[in-house]
């Protein structure tokens, strides 16, 4: 989920780029072309590390390499194979189920924290804001490792904590519990970051709105749910989209916890782990590319459709 780090509160507004008329426009048309000079260095990187790899992944996915025949064109064979491959489908089903449970929990936790923090200005609240955010500054690898230790029956505190209630501690990474175990790791890692984004959006609301509502007899709950939440809906929509993009490419946490999970996380646990294993353990780069590309297309279309459907709420219309 590391990629989320580069995409916080932005509003990826599709083609809203109508320029305001500038005064230089009519006078100096030659000069407008100089814009390309500013854009050129980025364009070079954009083409080399985004457009070309995407195109190449697609090209590779349409080919198959065999020892006998070398690399040859095989059309959509790799895709047919992927969508009938139980291991791939299993991984897809897992990340879908995982997002369905994770995202509501994560958004509730971050929204609740942000709403509470927005109401307070005490020292404790400032300190809490920082502490809740701190996991964002910790690499996902380290976060996953720490939870791996905490879950460990050998040297984690989980036995003690459950022992206080007189219950035997569950192993959070056993096949039955691994879903909840990972859920907790991801909520811990990202809720603070989302909280800060929501909090910033809340701070942007003009407080006179609350005064007016209070005059009309609204209580704290009503102000929070009927005024604050609707007013920050664009921030919530975007968090949702970025959470989906992040969760569907789930890789780092399960990869790190694999070694301590005693078999409950296998080589096809998520589509990305499966693609990684195919490419680097079995050298099946073509098939791995088909899986990567299919995943990318699904995520891209999914988030685009979501942004389109929610355009009234997210203010992009």
């Amino acid at each position: 989920m590391t990629q989320l780090a580069t995409v916080p509160t932005g509003v990826p507004a599709p083609t809203n780029a109508r320029p305001r008329p500038t005064r230089t426009g009519g006078i100096d048309r030659a000069r407008q072309r100089h814009g390309w000079l500013f854009v050129a260095p980025f364009t070079l990187v954009f083409i080399t590390f985004l457009i070309v790899p995407l195109g190449y992944a697609f090209w590779m996915s349409l080919h198959t390499k065999t020892l006998a025949a070398g690399e040859h064109f095989s059309g959509f064979e790799n895709y047919t194979r992927a969508f009938t491959d139980p291991e791939f489908l299993h991984g897809v089903a897992f990340v879908l189920r995982f997002s369905l449970v994770l995202i509501p929990i994560q958004m509730l936790v971050s929204l609740a924290a942000a709403l509470v923090l927005d109401n307070l200005s005490s020292r404790l609240s400032k300190f809490s804001r920082l502490m809740i955010f701190v996991p964002y500054a910790i690499p996902v690898v380290i976060g996953a490792m720490m939870w791996g230790f905490l879950y460990s029956p050998r040297f984690g505190p989980i036995g003690e904590i459950f022992g206080m209630f007189g219950i035997d501690a569950p192993f959070m990474l056993s096949p039955d519990n691994v879903f909840a175990g990972l859920l907790n790791v991801v909520v811990w890692q990202w809720a603070g970051y989302y909280m800060i984004i929501i909090y910033a959006a809340l701070r942007g609301i003009d407080t006179s709105v609350y005064e007016a509502a209070r005059m009309d007899g609204a209580n704290g709950w009503q102000i929070a749910l009927r005024i604050k939440v609707p007013m920050i809906s664009s921030a919530l929509v975007l968090i949702f989209v970025f959470a989906i993009i992040g969760t569907l490419q789930f890789f780092t946490e399960p990869q790190i916890l694999r070694s301590v999970a005693a078999g409950s996380i296998d080589a096809s646990f998520t589509p990305n782990i499966y693609a990684y294993t195919l490419a680097f353990s079995y050298s099946q780069f073509n098939y791995a590319s088909a899986i990567s590309f299919a995943l990318g297309v699904v995520v891209f279309i999914g988030s685009y459709v979501f942004l389109f459907l929610s355009r009234k709420r997210n203010g992009l219309s």
């Binding site: 932005g10 509003v11 990826p12 260095p41 985004l50 109401n119 490792m145 939870w147 990318g296």
Partner: protein
């Protein structure tokens, strides 16, 4: 956040309710803090234990052992595999700083170009760029690996640094910010005075863009620092690994290996040391990123 009781008379109600609500809110916050701080507390405590103390310590997992071995652990980090840990940490710094600064420079230039020039194809290009924000970057790792390996660049520092220069979101952020923060009138005035395009950019626009630059720099540095999938795929030489991948290897080795190759105490102490730089920068640069993170939702 407990709901106020509506039965009391309004005057006496306000204060009592506020206080009670604050008590409820503060309890909620304390619980959240405990949850979010628990792993960190555990990490700090565990980094002071030796490998036996981790398993059979007297204080339990959440308290200090009778022996205090933090210094010994740090010392062992210097001796293990010839102090390779510090090399990993240095690599992480190198990748994060070069990748972060590079991505920021490219984003500032491009964002300014998009915001202030109306060149041919600009709108189409920008639409493509916005779409690319939604391409999951991990989908690019495998083809990027194959391409880099064709170019003979895998297993070099460039395999990590060059792809890290890509930050479509940074460009988007800079464009949105530059649109309003740099008035056209100022640019025109500079041009009338005879300044060239680049000079106008450096002397007029750059100073106005500073808040957005800090934000983009922070976000892209953190992204590179945290990256795991890309370096895992493109690097195989242990000396080139960033600290995330390096510690991941030690962890896997400790799980599978025999007692002699277990490095749990090093993994833990190494993890603690590696998170200090970022945590400290976030705490000390608060006022920059707290303002900056809302930049994207300016619209």
């Amino acid at each position: 956040m407990s709901a106020p009781t509506l039965t009391r008379e309004p005057g006496a109600r306000r204060r009592g309710v506020t206080q009670r609500r604050n008590l409820g809110s503060h309890t909620f916050l304390v619980l959240l803090v405990l949850y979010f701080a628990l792993p960190l507390w555990w990490l700090i405590v565990a980094s002071t234990k030796n490998i036996n103390g981790l398993f059979t310590g007297t204080g339990g997992p959440l308290w200090f052992d009778s022996e205090f071995d933090l210094v010994a652990n740090v010392r062992q980090l210097f001796s293990q595999n010839g102090g390779i840990y510090w090399r990993w940490l240095g690599n992480s710094f190198l990748y994060a700083i070069v990748g972060g600064v590079g991505a920021t420079v490219l984003s500032v230039l491009a964002g300014y170009g998009f915001a202030k020039y109306r060149f041919r194809g600009r709108n189409l290009y920008f639409a493509v760029l916005l779409g690319s924000v939604m391409v999951p970057l991990t989908a690019l790792v495998i083809p990027t690996f194959v391409l880099l390996s064709d170019m003979g660049l895998t297993n070099t520092i460039w395999a990590v640094i060059l792809p890290s220069l890509l930050s479509p979101f940074g460009v988007y952020l800079m464009r949105v910010y530059a649109q309003d923060a740099v008035p056209d009138e100022l640019l025109d005035a500079a041009r009338v005075d005879g300044a060239g395009d680049f000079k106008t950019f450096v002397s007029v626009a750059l100073p106005l863009l500073r808040p957005a630059i800090v934000t983009v720099l922070l976000l892209s540095t953190v992204a590179t620092w945290n990256n795991y999938f890309l370096p895992l795929a493109v690097l195989s030489d242990t000396k080139l690994l960033p600290v995330t991948v390096g510690l991941g290897q030690w962890q896997a080795q400790s799980t599978s290996g025999a007692a002699g190759s277990q490095l749990w105490n090093l993994v833990i102490t190494g993890a603690l040391i590696s998170i200090i730089p970022l945590v400290v920068s976030f705490l000390s640069l608060q006022k920059y990123w707290q303002g900056g993170l809302s930049l994207g939702s300016l619209k």
